[in-house]
């Protein structure tokens, strides 16, 4: 799981163009949305939905579902591990 979390961090940094940020800057359990965490917003959910589909063959039904899946890197990794098709 640890490897998958690190892999996802790098993919999120790349997908969201978080230029200058490293995987070490993102805590596994920190919220991805809101000022307390990574500062992502609803626009970014769209990027993350595409990321899951392209890389792991996971198709989310809606951005609302995405908000649950993208609570933190650890939550996201657990979801990917349980639902990936590639």
């Amino acid at each position: 799981m640890e490897n998958l979390i690190d892999e996802l961090k790098l993919k999120v940094i790349d997908a969201l163009n978080l230029d200058g940020m490293t995987a070490a800057d993102i805590e596994d359990d920190a919220p991805l949305f809101g000022d307390a965490g990574l500062g992502l917003d609803s626009i970014d959910v769209l990027e993350l939905i595409v990321l899951l589909e392209k890389n792991y063959g996971i198709r989310l039904a809606s951005p609302a579902e995405g908000k649950e899946v993208f609570k933190s890197m650890a939550v996201m990794a657990a979801y990917v591990a349980g639902h990936r098709t590639k």
């Binding site: 978080l18 230029d19 200058g20 000022d35 500062g39 992502l40 626009i43 769209l46 990027e47």
Partner: protein, 164 residues
């Protein structure tokens, strides 16, 4: 009048860690907005009562190239999947909004795209911004960023008493 600038080639990430470090949204910004954000941090980091909402400070950002560097990045992303994260920075006035939001400045917030760097025109516009009854100071910046690795910056924190 306080003044700040960022030399082309500087590590914006290093400057962020030096001057702010507590605003992860910085990493999502395009280069134009990062430069504006950092210039404002440099000029007001030691102000008392920072982040207290105020309406008496204007944000006036000037450039020649606007957000063309990010526009090109967004156009490139369309070859694969058009990036929403890049799309949201395809307006030249996003930089002034980012600065206003970060600092809780509720005064005038404007971005001007000029044909060239014209000091007389810039300061005439700044003087006009002070003509209302509420504006007492302004963050003024020339941020020209034709490419992510090619930019010129100059910023000032101007009090009304500096001009009148």
């Amino acid at each position: 009048m306080k003044q700040a600038s960022i030399l082309c080639g500087a590590s914006l990430t290093d400057l962020y860690r030096q001057w702010a470090g507590d605003y992860p949204k910085f990493f999502k910004m395009d280069t134009l907005s990062k430069l504006g954000f950092l210039l404002a941090e440099m000029l007001v980091h030691d102000e008392p009562e920072r982040f207290t909402f105020r309406e008496d400070r204007a944000v006036l950002v000037f450039s020649r190239e606007g957000c063309v560097a990010n526009d090109r990045n967004y156009a490139r992303s369309m070859q694969d999947f058009p990036s929403p994260a890049l799309f949201v920075y395809t307006l030249p006035n996003i930089v002034s909004g980012e600065i206003s939001i970060r600092n809780k400045w509720g005064g005038e917030s404007s971005a001007f795209v000029l044909e060239s760097y014209d000091e007389a025109q810039i300061w005439e516009i700044v003087r006009q911004a002070f003509q209302d009854s509420r504006t007492k100071s302004a963050f003024v910046a020339w941020i020209d960023c034709p490419a992510d690795e090619n930019y010129v910056t100059n910023a000032w924190l101007v009090d009304k008493t500096d001009l009148f």
